[in-house]
């Protein structure tokens, strides 16, 4: 069976891939053991290790570990397994599923695995935790490392007993010889030894069909720490002698300081004021005193006129970077002859869709604790890119990266919104001036204003369909919102698809599922519009133009569970949407109820069918799918950043509406477990079908077509 969706390359997203400079991991294996104690060390070298191409003239002595490492694992003399990875935990529960992966291959309980994550001193370089990449990339590496450790242990037992290793079995922390019934604990085999093994990322893995730990709904590791309030998030970190920081924010985006008087603030006992260019902040013994000091600063800012959300879409269309593939990232795709196919099609349609800026609003705002020791800097902060933040800090203070350590305690969510290290840099600047550690926690208003937003965008789609429902022409232009998920999985002979880079009036960046949400909203709404024009059932119309078996399977599974095609009552509407993103396949069916008098739109029920290869943790997968749908409700229905002349007007939870308990529909999830396909990440893809499914359902209920996200910030205005 052809699997065309897999042939569509995962396109690098310009708002996401912010690769740091290549990192050369140079450490002698003896240093590892000095730090870890004796035991077994397995290092997973990345494919295409560049050590030999570096031209540095260094010879491989066999004593050095490879320079590009995915992850590493240490099995200590006391039997504890410690796994080191640069990935981080932001609520996706990857700490749990990576522990499962290691426990699986080492045949030990999950509770015996300790994960050290996102600590730039202890873990190998990692670009960051984003793009649903941990499950497909980090998990196999750690599994291979664990499998290699297991084989090494079997080898040790075999030579100790002078038997063939092939007949020995590893289970529950022991190697057993089924013939002699002898067994020995892993820890006893290791005693005093320092064994290193390097494995390559290409080594084989236990097939999903044989999994015993993976594929199970393992509970969140350290769950009791979270329900008792014991876990220390970045904003809960505390070090001795710590001061509290606060920043004076500019009057508007891009504002520059015209004049400043910090005299009164400086006279407050215990307060250190820092004025360095446009940076103005204080460090004080308490948050109250810090706030008082900031209030005592008189500053005048020079503000340039800037666009507002009223002019947003016009602005984006007017500020396109023109030229031949201006982004240079191949974000233009063309096949066949679109104009000719459009001209001869029986049905033609041209529509424009828009999406507004929205905020991630992670419940824990940006936070950091920074501590200097001489010219060495340690920062605890919540970020998806600890190594990226290390680079930011090294750059800001003009010190080598080796002198910066960034630690990432499990953080109060991110959703693509914590790639950057603003709070870390600010806290470190204040700490350097105050000569004491400084903690800085952004206020909610700061997080809404000075982080970055999901890009707004304008999407123009035109299509042509033959009388029998065959799509023959497809043209798709995305202005600004991004290229993720831009390519069509429907089979159309004549296509032109293009992403247009524009100037953005606001600072924009990654957001869970990136532009796939916007592109699927446009594509799947447009498919519904075309189906209505042709006079076909939307599911039938999709089936007719979709060969990809995996996508067809989720559409059919969702439709079946939903009861697609059943009769509806007045005010009720059904809609569907779905697609392919980050190697996952999703289809979503939504039921809405619209009160025509009040304009209230209630999403009543959502059925999601999802397939991402072999399922690692079914309950956590359901949790992610439910969460994607609930988060997606906000952007679909009512979330939008209001801004004017460089200011955010609704940067509070009292004015920026996020989904709450009463907004949540009945959520039903159908999981398709494909043990024959490698596991993909699932934090992003499940949300992309929701907005079009709701929009299509609103049309089904009312005949009103909504082409702008959010769709009903003030309810539905039925003419």
């Amino acid at each position: 069976m052809s699997d065309e969706a897999h042939e569509i390359p995962l396109e690098p997203e310009r708002y996401e891939l912010r690769a740091g400079p290549a990192y050369w991991f140079e450490v002698d294996r003896r240093d590892f053991f000095k730090f870890l104690g004796a035991g077994i060390l397995v290092v997973c070298a990345l494919k295409g290790t560049r050590g030999q191409e570096s031209g540095s003239g260094r010879r491989s002595s066999g004593e050095e570990v490879p320079r590009e490492i995915g992850g590493w694992l240490h099995l200590g003399q006391n039997g504890t397994v410690t796994v080191y990875t640069g990935k981080v935990e932001v609520g996706q529960n990857i700490r749990t599923s990576l522990s499962q992966a290691v426990a699986e291959e080492l045949v030990i309980p999950v509770s015996k695995v300790e994960m050290v994550m996102g600590d730039t001193k202890l873990t190998p370089y990692d670009m960051g935790t984003f793009g649903s990449r941990t499950t497909p990339t980090m998990s196999p590496q750690l599994r291979k490392a664990a499998a290699a450790a297991r084989e090494l242990l079997i080898g040790l037992a075999a030579s100790q007993w002078k038997v063939d290793g092939g007949r020995l079995v590893a289970a529950e922390g022991k190697i057993t010889d089924p013939e002699t019934k002898r067994s020995v604990e892993y820890a006893a085999l290791i005693k005093g030894q320092e064994l290193t093994q390097t494995i390559s990322a290409e080594d084989g893995l236990m097939p999903a069909g044989k999994w015993r730990v993976q594929g199970q709904s393992e509970a969140k590791v350290q769950g009791s720490e979270f329900v008792t309030g014991k876990h220390r998030y970045p904003s809960d970190q505390k070090v001795p002698e710590m001061l509290h920081g606060k920043i004076l924010r500019p009057a508007a985006f891009g504002a520059t300081l015209a004049s400043i008087d910090t005299g009164e603030a400086e006279r407050i006992p215990g307060v250190t004021v820092v004025h360095d260019g446009n940076f103005v902040g204080v460090a004080a013994p308490s948050t109250e005193i810090a706030a008082r000091a900031i209030a005592a600063i008189r500053a005048e800012w020079k503000v340039e006129p800037q666009p507002s959300n009223q002019d947003l879409f016009e602005y984006l269309k007017k500020n396109v970077a023109e030229g031949d593939d201006p982004t240079g990232d191949g974000s233009r795709y063309e096949t066949g002859a679109v104009e000719k196919a459009l001209a001869t099609a029986e049905h033609r349609l041209l529509q424009t869709y828009t999406v507004r800026y929205i905020a991630h609003a992670p419940l824990e705002p940006r936070a950091a604790v920074a501590e200097w020791s001489g010219d060495e800097l340690t920062v605890w902060t919540g970020t998806q890119r600890p190594f990226g933040v290390r680079s930011e800090l090294a750059e800001a203070f003009r010190i080598p990266e080796e002198r910066v350590r960034v630690l990432m305690p499990d953080t109060g969510s991110a959703y693509g919104g914590k790639h950057t290290g603003e709070a870390a840099v600010e806290a470190a600047r204040l700490a350097r001036a105050a000569k004491r550690p400084v903690k800085l926690v952004w206020t909610r208003e700061e997080e809404f204003t000075w982080a970055y937003f999901r890009p707004a965008g304008v999407i123009e789609v035109s299509g042509g369909v033959r009388g029998d429902g065959t799509l023959v022409a497809w043209e798709f232009h995305n202005y600004n919102s991004g290229s993720a998920g831009i390519r069509s999985y429907y089979d159309v002979a004549n296509q032109r698809i293009e992403f247009h880079e524009t100037r953005s009036p606001l600072r924009q960046g990654s957001y869970r599922a990136l532009a796939a949400t916007a592109n699927h909203f446009a594509r799947e709404s447009f498919m519904d519009e075309l189906a209505r024009q042709v006079g076909m059932d939307p599911l039938e119309f999709r089936r007719k133009n979709l060969k990809n078996e995996r996508l067809r399977a989720v559409f059919e599974a969702a439709a079946k569970k939903f009861g697609w095609g059943r009769a509806k009552v007045a005010g009720q509407g059904f809609g569907m949407g779905g697609g392919f993103e980050k190697a996952g396949n999703v289809a979503t069916c939504a039921e809405v109820a619209v009160d025509r008098t009040s304009g209230e739109v209630k999403v009543v029920r959502v059925v999601t069918a999802f397939e991402c290869g072999a399922i690692v943790n079914p309950d956590n997968l359901r949790n992610q799918i439910e969460g994607s749908n609930i988060m997606g409700l906000g952007g679909a229905l009512f979330e939008a950043i209001e801004f004017e002349n460089g200011k955010v007007l609704n940067g509070r939870f009292s004015s920026y509406r996020v989904p709450r308990f009463s907004d949540v529909p009945v959520l039903e999830t159908v999981l398709l477990d494909r043990k024959d396909i490698p596991s993909a990440g699932a934090g992003e893809c499940p949300m992309i079908g929701l907005a079009p499914a709701i929009g299509n359902a609103i049309f089904d209920a009312t005949g009103v077509r909504l082409r702008s996200l959010p769709m009903v910030p003030d309810g539905l205005r039925v003419a």
Binding site: G229, E288, R444, G627, R652, F661
Partner: protein, 157 residues
């Protein structure tokens, strides 16, 4: 300004040094190192800072310490009895009613207050009561299920 020097927190009197208009959340976190109560908005809109005051749910971020007097404050740290978790904490674990879990303390404290006032809430009553608590990860259905199952559990114990 009048000073507050003592607060009754989790069953014992604790010494603090705060202006009467200081936020209870800041005093709990910065002076008593009880960091289980979280900052999420500072305007009583997200519920991450929820504590019990004489058994009722209160947003500690907008509660001035000067208004508390002799009243008893319970934070997430004071909910378990030794190693024995409160049934609501157990239910949150059993239902996997969390992702990043930053909202969890506030959710649990709100839920405990709800069950104190209404030991058999309907799903609608739960949603209504919990409306002021934000979960950005979207674990709402699991939280509702956890509160329902805790209610059942508490009825039988």
């Amino acid at each position: 300004m009048a000073k507050v020097t003592q607060l009754n927190v989790n069953g014992s009197w604790r010494t603090v040094d705060a202006d009467a208009d200081a936020s209870l959340l800041v005093v709990l976190r910065d002076q008593l190192d009880l960091t289980g109560s979280k900052y999420g908005c500072g305007e009583g809109q997200c519920g991450a800072c929820t504590v019990l005051i004489n058994g009722s749910a209160r947003r500690s971020c907008i509660t001035q310490v000067g208004t508390i007097g002799q009243k008893q404050i319970t934070t997430i740290e004071g909910l378990a009895k030794g190693d024995r978790l409160h049934p609501v904490q157990e239910a949150f674990l059993a239902q996997a009613a969390m992702q990043c879990a930053y909202c969890t303390s506030g959710m649990i404290m709100s839920a405990v207050a709800l069950l104190k006032a209404n030991n058999n809430p309907t799903e609608g009553e739960i949603r209504h009561f919990m409306e002021g608590n934000i979960c950005r990860c979207g674990t709402h259905p699991r939280i509702v299920a956890a509160i329902r199952s805790a209610a059942e559990e508490m009825k039988h114990s």
